[in-house]
Subunit: 261 residues, 6 copies
């Protein structure tokens, strides 16, 4: 359960759409770039839905269906079944958020299929249990379309089980509010940093694979608030943090030079 | 066992053909695209055949023969054999439905071979048992010819053990009936959504790998019934749900614009 | 042991040649396409040789030498050796039939080498036993030269340990007899189905990787005997059962149209 | 805990920047070539921050999340949970230094994500514990941009969680001080060796993948102090230590010839 | 121990050379094509050297160092060390024959290195034992240079630890003697079969990867002695046993036609 | 511990250099071709350094960090930690010689890093112990630059932790002394064999990947001393022992013909 209201600034109708999906218990896919606030959004929504419990699983290349569903553990003189995070969410009626689900091993997709159609069940092969989902259970997954290879794409038979909410980096004014709120720099500096973020993301077409995340702009603000000179702070938390390529670093440094003269 | 009659609208002679295959105990292969109703069809048939029990296994890249047949589990002071889902079906005379069987590891095909010729036996290597199939056992598998790579094809020696039933998306009138029934929108809106589905599937030749499933059309209806504006609902549950490509999304949005002016 | 005489219609001198190989205890390789009757032939021969016991192992990509030879299983308070199917055959003097042996993992070939030269022994590494084959033990393997890739070829050092019996699909008259016997259709319909089989196999040079098996012709007959219209039965059990390619399906349908007007 | 002050000669503002990051508890990435002093810097900083405990993990291709987080170990009659090095650092408030983190298996990145955003938690899947980081916990990682292949790059979603400190080899005067201090050769010889280092690194564009580390210059000094002739010492600890290529070795030997005539 | 004298017809000075290597305890490599008598030669030599015990291990892609050296096995209430075949040979002074050693996993080569230089020891990592070889221990390995890929070559650091004895198929007169002795056909037929073998091996340059082994010629003789017509016996035990290629089979059949008119 | 003085004939200043490295406890890398005496050199040095104990580990593709460091073994009713060879050497102050270290799995390199810089510690992850090296511990590794692929190169971050001693085959006079001493042939024959070795190594540029090792020349001498004719002995222990290529074998045979007329 999310204890206190997570601070979240909506950028469109995402709150209303999510609530409609929740009411119909439609599985939701959050699409968007790194560090744009998907994790915080889902925490905010869990809090907003009368304190709906939230189970978050960060997926990775070695995550198996067993990691999600559960396994037998050896105790003193027998083996004891232990629910995994997905099973706990299905049983208790939590929102289960699988972050970057395409990273996981393929057997995980099979586990979520019967939870995302009219059946709403979780077959637990190891125990033979066919667990019916709690009425409040909802599955939410995220992925970043920016760096999916064809090997790591969601299969259509998985993808077509989710409604899809797109996320983007916030507009400059919104992001400046966030940076000021989170880092403690004043409004003017926060606006400059948000503008730097906006310009750096525009470099994307010029060979920068990923823009700069809101998180890094907040870091920059924190370093400035902590006494590091603004341009050196940008150097550390933006320029060298996002790339090792000398020409990309130069292009970013040029933007910083203009905006923090 | 399927508890209540699953709602299913036949699109051809598939019910009669399946019943003939069942009477001769011929293994059946269901071919068709994602979300066209294969799973629901088999649930319907199990119910229709006087409540024949049904065992469904969603296959995946890590599914092994042992997952299907069974394994020894460690208990307090010995190891105990536990039947897997296929063995349970063979022993009790259920229909065993292996969904997307080509995804499974190759040792699974070997397990189903002696069950699908004149022998009708399941050799359980680990226990040495040669289990004769219950007279009511039937094996049903599915696969989606649309996205099989050559690596994931059914071997002819497997394929030629099954009669083959093809499934397609339902015609517009049929699909409109389904969307209205499942989502709660009125007949006019259901017809428009079914028409959108039909037009989007026609884009397939223009670079859209998969069409839109009936399931997503139902989701769209559910969002509309839940208060989301129809065009925004299409955006969330169709346009962005089926593709990340900007030009495909535009083509889909154009269809929506025409049909939901 | 094969309980009752398996029905088998010889197509050449294969029965005499197998008996000669058996008398000299020469290992035998059965070569031929899918569904042409190799499994039934070996069952027939086992029965014919005064009820020689038969152990059949369907090989697959994950089959290891341990699966064939045996392993230690954990019981209440110790580990107990359990013979695998090959070891049981070697010890008791059965025919051991390894179906599609090239599919198995490579350590299996090493296990069969000392059983297939003058030594006729099975070294069981795990127990240290050097098991001399029972005088009646015979090793038989099969493979389908039609779809072996170079990765899945028999190594010459394995291959040159076997005499080689080639199998082909039966001639039309023979196959019609089989179809009538197994499916219950009358002689005229069985002949038409056998002729369809013959014509479809002739398509092979026109892009059909595999012909149609005798088994599928029998399925077609069973569907017809069960009340499905003959052309629809061919559709289900032949045309769509052997290919997903529209042009191949059309070519097959054309043959059916001519022969079942 | 680092027992005595590790000798470290700053080359820029890295000490001040690190202290600012530490005060804001911002995760830090140390970038730089092999042997330039990153490990010693982090030891120095741990000592400097009032004796902050330090946990160092050298990452490698087989390092898994379990190696970092912990595992159940089998004792006399049950299994006992044992914290891994990362969990110990999170629990007790140490600096955790993951050296060459991109070498580790991908599941490790997932473990560090929730520790490097506003959540500052470590979910321990195996025990179900959600461990909140001690207020003094800080995560520091290093990597060498010089020899990362695209396969071994930090994912942007990981990278954009860290501020980034770049390290380079020290200037000649600084390095001469280090060499003299560590090896015992006199200032003149130390200066010659540092100059050799500087010239050898300039060869990098001429096909030498990596320069020579400060460590090897110290080794050379130690061999000279131990009685080996200076040119032979360079031969052993520089020329043949950094390359097997005859032309690179010749180019290095030419530099040595000029500077140690 | 080899119980009775294995029948072996020397083709050169291989017996004298092996005896000299044995007296100096030099490791021996037997090179030669499949089925030319290497296994029988080593059995013959073991018998000849006053009944020296012989341990034969057929190597394969999954054979590990542990398979050769030994492992701990779980018994009632502890684990018990069990020597592998190599360790038994080293301890008791047997000849250890590793057939097709390049097939084994690479950790096996490391195990044989200290046994094949001046050290003559076997380090048993698992028990910490450094086992000195019995004075009568000798290591013999074989490989077939005909079908080694570069991936499966002996490393020079392994290869240069062995003296090397080359084997070829026997000359026609010698092979005829063998065929007559082993199959029971008369001298004239044996001579014809040996001539067929000789001609078929000459096809090697014309696309036949491997010739025909002496073993297959003996099989042919056995089938003829068992009542199969000579040309049909050649068909079964030579033509189809060595190739699936129609043109190679035709070339072989042409040779048979000429020699068995 | 090396029991008796290993016979070793120095070819340069390698003994003095190793002693200097030992006094400064600098890690040492021995580079050189197969069979040139690296193993014997390190045994000799261990003996020479007042009987310093020596732990030798032959590395291979499956050698893991756990094999070096140690593992828990299951005993009657608990698990007991057992030091691996590296840990034994670190604890007791032995020279640890990792032969062909690049063959080992990559996690091993991580284990040796903290042992080869100013820290001189071995972190034992499994027990949580941070073992400080005994003052007399020294790490020595070897590798053969002749056949390293780029996949099997030492990483610079590993390589730059070692001083580097190059080994070559001995000069003819030195090698003749060795051959005479080890094989028992007279000085004239030993000189001829050493000259053959020298000429064969000169073929290297003409397509012979590796020269002939001193060990094989000694084998040749032993066969001659055992009664095999000199040219036949060269055939067995040189010509066929080093290559399967007919033209390389011919070139080597030509050298033998000239020198052993």
């Amino acid at each position: 359960m999310v204890a206190s209201e997570p601070w979240y600034l909506p950028v469109g109708d995402e709150v209303q759409v999510f609530e409609a999906a929740w009411r119909a218990r439609l599985p939701v896919l959050l699409k968007g770039p790194t560090g744009c606030g998907k994790t915080r959004f889902i925490e905010h929504m869990a809090w907003r839905l009368s304190g709906q419990p939230l189970v978050t699983v960060a997926c990775h290349e070695d995550l198996t269906a067993n990691d999600l569903v559960g396994r037998y553990l050896l105790s003193a003189d027998s083996t004891v079944w232990t629910d995994g995070p997905l099973t706990r969410a299905v049983r208790t009626g939590a929102i289960c958020y699988l972050d970057e689900v395409v990273e996981a091993r393929k057997d995980t997709t099979v586990v979520i299929h019967p939870l995302t159609d009219h059946r709403r069940v979780l077959p637990i092969e190891k125990t033979g249990e066919l667990l019916e989902a709690h009425p409040d259970f909802l599955l939410v997954i995220s992925y970043n379309p920016g760096y999916q290879s064809s090997l790591k794409d969601l299969k259509p038979s998985t993808r077509q089980r989710f409604v899809s909410l797109e996320f983007h980096y916030p507009a400059v004014e919104v992001e400046a509010t966030i940076v000021a709120h989170e880092s403690g720099v004043d409004a003017a500096m926060a606006h400059r940093l948000a503008t730097i973020g906006d310009k750096v993301r525009a470099l994307r077409e010029h060979g920068l694979a990923d823009g700069v995340s809101t998180r890094l702009l907040v870091y920059t603000g924190q370093l400035i608030a902590g006494g590091i000179a603004p341009r050196r702070a940008c150097d550390i938390a933006i320029t060298h943090a996002i790339s090792d390529e000398a020409d990309v670093q130069q292009a970013v440094a040029d933007i910083v030079d203009v905006l923090l003269p």
